[in-house]
């Protein structure tokens, strides 16, 4: 199953196979850094606004696809809010991976992570930052990067198939 997290409300991109999509339909709250998703309600965010089960949805996917406007090399605030609220996908304990400290797995699925960024005038520096962040995300999920691409607008993105 593909899990798509996007900031595009009116999402018109073709998707092959089974998928779930998280997009800005409901109001989302930002992560408050309480770690409740690890020590109060392990595996789920404590904020009950419809986005608390994203970590569980991630455990059911083989591909995680971020489709987002690029801001300074980061995904957009909405996509980042969803990601920040989904750290329950991983376990709070640390392990060593590639010589660095990362979080232990909670689930067994291996995520292939892709990011499709759009936006006018994305600089080379921003592209580099974005690629590094997606790689770091994949390392922390103990998955791998499948694809990172940049498009000047949503219109160009609509010509691809996910």
């Amino acid at each position: 199953m593909k899990l798509i997290i996007t900031d595009i409300e009116d999402f018109n991109i073709t998707i092959n196979g089974k998928y779930k999509i998280i997009k800005p339909q409901e109001k989302i709250n930002h992560c408050i850094g309480c770690f409740g998703c690890w020590v109060k309600t392990p595996g789920q965010c404590v904020i009950r606004d419809g986005f608390e089960k994203t970590g569980i949805k991630m455990s059911r996917c083989s591909e995680l696809i971020l489709v987002s406007q690029c801001f300074y090399g980061s995904v957009s605030p909405f996509v980042k809010m969803v990601q920040d609220r989904a750290i329950s996908y991983i376990h709070p304990d640390f392990v060593m991976r590639k010589g660095e400290m990362h979080h232990k797995r909670r689930y067994k699925n291996v995520i292939a992570l892709s990011a499709f960024f759009y936006g006018e005038k994305i600089t080379d520096m921003e592209k580099n930052t974005a690629k590094n962040i997606i790689q770091a995300n994949a390392d922390n999920y103990d998955g791998f990067v499948k694809n990172v691409c940049f498009y000047p607008s949503i219109k160009e993105l609509e010509e691809i198939t996910l």
Binding site: G33, G43, V75, P77, K80, P92
Partner: protein, 213 residues
């Protein structure tokens, strides 16, 4: 010289960011500067914050690493500030520094977040002057109070002292990284003990830490 100390953590109290800003204040106290303290804890940049940002010559952001980037609420604030930058200041008249802390041991893991700040400065026509990445940030609020320069915070204090000297001279600092002063295995062990204590305190069982759905 007016310096804004901006707490970018979503936590209002006792965050690693606020502790690091307190350390900075200690070192600034030895120089002739006016410190303006403010917090960006929510999604909205208030008029009061805009007013304070206008007053300051230098902006120092302290923030935690969230999912390899900056917290979503702060990203939203940065977009708002960029959109209003012409009301706030003239092009390239504000110097921006940052301290990013992370729960991982290696301060180097904050590098992408520092790059986001640099890219934001480019877009908003601010002077990016560099930052410090602090590893082991999760332990800062747990450590007992000790005199500055002593105990596990000593390497961080040393780095921040040097950082403040650079800021006062308005010099550019190449991004630098530091870890809390304890061996990595010990930090890892302390973190594991900490999570187990917290889940028990919340009425849960240790095995619940690994709960699957």
């Amino acid at each position: 010289m007016k310096i804004a100390l901006i707490d970018g953590s979503p936590k209002i109290n006792n965050s690693a960011s606020s502790i690091l800003l307190e350390e900075l204040k200690y070192f600034f106290a030895q120089g002739k500067v006016e410190l303006i303290e403010m917090g960006l804890h929510t999604l909205v940049v208030s008029e009061e914050i805009v007013k304070q940002l206008k007053r300051a010559d230098i902006w120092i952001f302290a923030l935690p690493l969230y999912v390899d980037g900056i917290p979503s609420h702060l990203l939203s604030c940065f977009i708002q500030i960029e959109n209003r930058i012409n009301d706030i200041c003239k092009k390239y008249t504000k110097n921006v520094y940052s301290i990013v802390n992370c729960g991982f041991y290696e301060g180097e893991q904050t590098e992408p977040a520092l790059h986001i700040l640099e890219n934001w400065c480019c877009k908003a026509q601010l002077n990016w002057c560099g930052g410090v990445g602090v590893g082991g940030g999760g332990s800062l609020s747990m450590l007992p109070k000790m005199p500055n320069g002593q105990g596990p915070k000593a390497p961080i204090d040393k780095m921040l002292k040097h950082f403040v000297e650079k800021i006062i001279k308005q010099e550019i600092q190449k991004n630098q990284y530091v870890s809390v002063g304890m061996p990595r295995f010990m930090y890892q062990l302390c973190a594991q003990i900490g999570w187990r204590q917290l889940i028990r305190k919340n009425g849960g069982k240790i095995k619940d830490l690994g709960r699957k759905f």
